[in-house]
Symmetry: C2
Subunit: 109 residues, 2 copies
C-alpha cells in the first residue's frame, strides 16, 4: 500500500511571471518590458501582480515615475536568474543530445 498526500514545489508560480519580473528589472519599466515581450502593458502588470500575490510580498515599489525593485525584489532577483539559467541549460542539453543522436544516426547508415 502506498500513500502520497501531495507534491508541490512552486505554489503556482509560473515561468512567464518570473520572465516578466526579470525583463522589467532589465529594461527598467513595464512599458518597455511589454514591448520586449510582445505583450500589452496590462498583461505584464498583471503577471507581476500575480507573482507578488503568490509570493505574498511586493517585488516592486510603485512610484509615479514608474516602478522600481523593492528590497524583497532585490533579494529575489538572483534566484529568478538562477531559475531562468537552469531553464536555458535544460534547452542546451536538449540541443546537445539531438546533435549526438544525429551523429549516431549518420554512423548507422
Amino acid at each position: 500500500m502506498e500513500l502520497i498526500i501531495a507534491i508541490s514545489y512552486t505554489d503556482g508560480m509560473e515561468l512567464s511571471e518570473i520572465e516578466a519580473f526579470m525583463t522589467i528589472q532589465l529594461v527598467g519599466s513595464c512599458t518597455k518590458a511589454a514591448e520586449a515581450m510582445h505583450l500589452s502593458q496590462p498583461a505584464i502588470s498583471r503577471r507581476i501582480e500575480l507573482l507578488e500575490r503568490k509570493l505574498g510580498v511586493p517585488l516592486f515599489e510603485r512610484l509615479s515615475s514608474g516602478i522600481r525593485l523593492s528590497e524583497v525584489g532585490r533579494a529575489f532577483l538572483p534566484h529568478a536568474r538562477q531559475v531562468l539559467a537552469a531553464i536555458e541549460d535544460g534547452h542546451a542539453v536538449r540541443l546537445l543530445i539531438e546533435k549526438l543522436r544525429d551523429e549516431q544516426d549518420r554512423q548507422e547508415i
Copy 2:
C-alpha cells in the same frame, strides 16, 4: 533612442509542466503523479505532452506497462531539479525577509 527586439528565456515552458515531469519521475507513473498533484491523469499527460512539444523531444518512453524516462529525459532531469530548487530558494528568501521585517517593525514600536 532605444531598440529592444525581443526577450524570451523560456520558449513558453511553464513550471507546472516541469513540476509534472519531476513528479512523474519521482513516483513512477502518470496515475500516481496525478493523485499526488490533485489532478486527473489526462491533465498530467497533457502537461508532459506540452513540455515535450516545447522542447522538441520526448522526455518519456511510452510502454504498455507505463511510462519511463527517455535518454533526453534523464539528461533534462538535473536541470529540472535545479529549476525547482531555485524556486524553493526564492521562497525561502521571501520568508527570511518577511521575518527580518517583522523584527524591524517590533523594534520600531
